[in-house]
């Protein structure tokens, strides 16, 4: 009896433990088909103030598409925090949507899985050709030298949003053009519970975007020409240290920002607690937080003092959303029609106006609606001083590894342990060694 009980207990234990190694796998067939030509599933990334807001914006457009083509589109708006995992799961199981949005920085990583339909000349022809799209946007749609894995949908770039009243109160005449100016202005603002600059210290991607730009300004990159990680070069270390120092040494970023990851810094900005934020397209969200358009101004993100100067130095990554088709879709023809519809001039104007982004389609970009002061800064940045994040298969791992290192350094800075060159180098070295060797 005792033995039976022990055996039963062991069996239960093994079952409980088995979950630890449960790791699914699967394969899918190559190439799409047209087995179900009347339906499509679309995973849209969360672009607006909320998932509900996105549904409200997109549903009438999908109805329009249904009316034109007879194809019904089942929409699911996926929050950013879940999107990559969901795509990964869909890739593994082969049970994904037909069409989906991806962050453009993931293009090369997702391309490496082989799950996305490559946009070769033939496929591009079905949506009006490659030439319709802006060059820099296409540059972040897949690994250099191969057919894009996705089609650009919304383009964005970072700009410096500043609170006019807080600047006035501190006696500052205009937005800073260089980091030295920003720190000097920041010291005037950062007192009595108010802070100069907002940050999202626990948001890994946000950390990456800023240190990538700073690294470019220090003449460094996080990958060498062969696509191998190179996180510990002097320029990369200086870039990460400069970013962390804004909180730890210069004290122009509130320590509390180290745990922000849910866009709280934008709320602080709207509530006059923080005078500046570096953001991609904040207009709609600021409005949702009750801030009117005349309360804030937009300027390019600062650059280092001296050469090459404000107009030419990199001050943003090429941000944006791409639209991809799952290779094993049951409605390849419909998926291409849907991409064509979403990237048509009319829809591009409408959707980008609504989301406050810039159309990556040249013809749509000409619309005067994209000439507002705020959008003009972003448009100019995209045209002159934005660089795409490294288009290497390990990009998403880089975001996690280096993004986490920056998060930990910011947590230290918030706790009163400012970064040193050695501590930054050590963290980046650890991050580099955690990257896959291939």
């Amino acid at each position: 009896m005792r033995r039976t009980r022990a055996a039963a207990a062991s069996a239960v234990t093994v079952s409980l433990l088995a979950a630890a190694t449960a790791c699914g796998g699967g394969s899918s067939t190559d190439g799409g088909s047209n087995d179900s030509p009347k339906t499509l599933t679309y995973w849209a990334s969360n672009q607006g103030a909320s998932i509900e807001a996105d549904k409200k914006i997109l549903t009438p457009e999908l109805k329009k598409f249904e009316k034109q083509t007879g194809i019904k589109v089942k929409l699911e708006v996926v929050p950013w925090s879940d999107l990559l995992n969901r795509i990964l799961a869909a890739t593994t199981s082969g049970q994904g949507p037909d069409v989906l949005n991806i962050g453009n920085t993931w293009s090369a990583s997702l391309q490496a899985t082989g799950a996305l339909l490559p946009w070769d000349a033939k496929n591009f022809a079905t949506i009006g050709g490659k030439d319709r799209f802006v060059e820099s946007a296409l540059g972040s749609a897949g690994a250099t030298g191969s057919d894009p894995a996705a089609v650009p949908l919304y383009s964005m770039a970072y700009a410096l949003y500043y609170n006019k009243k807080m600047f006035e109160d501190a006696g500052i005449s205009g937005p800073p053009a260089t980091w030295d100016d920003l720190v000097a202005d920041g010291k005037k603002i950062s007192k009595d519970g108010k802070w100069a600059l907002g940050a999202e210290g626990s948001n890994l991607s946000e950390n990456i975007h800023h240190v990538f730009v700073l690294a470019k300004q220090h003449g460094a990159d996080f990958f060498d020409a062969d696509g191998k990680p190179d996180f510990t070069s002097d320029g990369a270390v200086a870039a990460v240290k400069q970013y962390v120092d804004l909180m730890g040494k210069d004290k122009v970023v509130a320590p509390g920002n180290a745990e922000y990851a849910q866009n709280q810094s934008l709320q602080d900005f709207a509530k006059d607690k923080t005078a500046m934020v570096m953001w991609q397209t904040a207009a709609t969200t600021l409005k949702a937080h009750g801030m009117s358009d005349d309360e804030w101004g937009v300027a390019p993100v600062p650059v280092q003092s001296g050469t090459p100067g404000a107009d030419t130095a990199v001050n943003s990554m090429v941000a944006g959303i791409n639209m991809a088709v799952f290779k094993n879709t049951d409605n390849i023809g419909g998926a291409q029609k849907f991409v064509k519809f979403m990237t048509s001039d009319a829809e591009q104007k409408l959707l980008n106006k609504t989301y406050g982004s810039i159309p990556p389609v040249k013809a749509a970009q000409e619309d005067p609606a994209f000439d507002t002061p705020a959008l003009k800064v972003i448009r100019d940045t995209l045209a002159k001083s934005a660089a795409p994040l490294p288009q290497v298969p390990n990009e998403s791992q880089f975001e996690t590894a280096v993004g986490t290192a920056v998060k930990e350094l910011l947590a230290d800075a918030a706790a009163g342990r400012p970064a040193t060159t050695a501590s930054v180098k050590e963290k980046l070295d650890e991050a580099q060694q955690q990257m896959p060797k291939k």
Binding site: C23, T113, L204, E259
Partner: protein, 329 residues
Amino acid sequence: MTVTAQPAVGKEAPPGAPAPTPRRRTGRVRRNVLPYLLLLPALLLELLVHLVPMVIGIVMSFKELTQFYIRDWGAAPWAAFDNYTVSVDFDAPIGKALLHSFFVTCAFTVLSVGLCWLLGTTAAVYMQENFRGRGFLRAVFLVPYALPVYAAVITWAFMFQRDNGLVNHVLHDQLGLTDSPSFWLIGDNSFVALLVVSVWKGWPFAFLIVMAGLQNIPRELYEAASIDGAGMLQQLRRITLPSLRPVNQVLVLVLFLWTFNDFNTPYVLFGRAAPEAADLISIHIYQSSFVTWNFGAGSAMSVLLLLFLLVVTGVYLVLTSRGRRAADA
């Protein structure tokens, strides 16, 4: 259970007794097969849900499985023991980080299970007394166990926020216990935050199980002890705790396994990059597999974790059954 399908012959069959009819034979066959048939769906499900994925996980741990192969993982190159050697190379960052998260998990598990058991047992013992409002209190105690984990933990994450959270509001603003508002979701305090949530979530289960165990202790024992002059503490030490031993053995084992493998609490509290101080092994393995997309290494770490838990559980079962045998003797 050892009945055969053959008709009974020999001593039991009285002479002249009618031979068993074919119908009866079929009935016996049915009785023999029926239990297995009834077990079959459960066995099949067990096979599909647990054993097959486990075997797949073990195979994956021997493969060089990255994003290049996740669509067709069978085609991933064979890596032999590479994933294992990388995981246990404690001088290199990957092994060092795994060892760190292992120690964090051990400390977290010991503290969490210990506190859950202590709180659960204390509450259950007090709830034995009949007093007004006992039913209400019992129900209230079980609330954390009844709430959906995600909703409960995300609420804790709000309360632990540095600038707007309730925890700092009470500790700093109202009680003045800290010089400045503390960070709970990043840095060293994150371990404390994780422990608090884990204990809050886990102790009602201990309470429930211990309370059920207490129901089985005959009242007469306490009455007799009381007549013999045993006080409350002595009754607890001599009657309650020894009687609860079998219940506690299962309770501690289950709490240990749940806590050691807990993924939901740290993931909802900290997101996909947990702070170093609260980097539990489950999150660490998740990161290796689903964030760094190194599924081979992640699977190898899972297998190592499985082996560790099997050894600990085995030793625990042997020790407790020995203890029980000694007690029986």
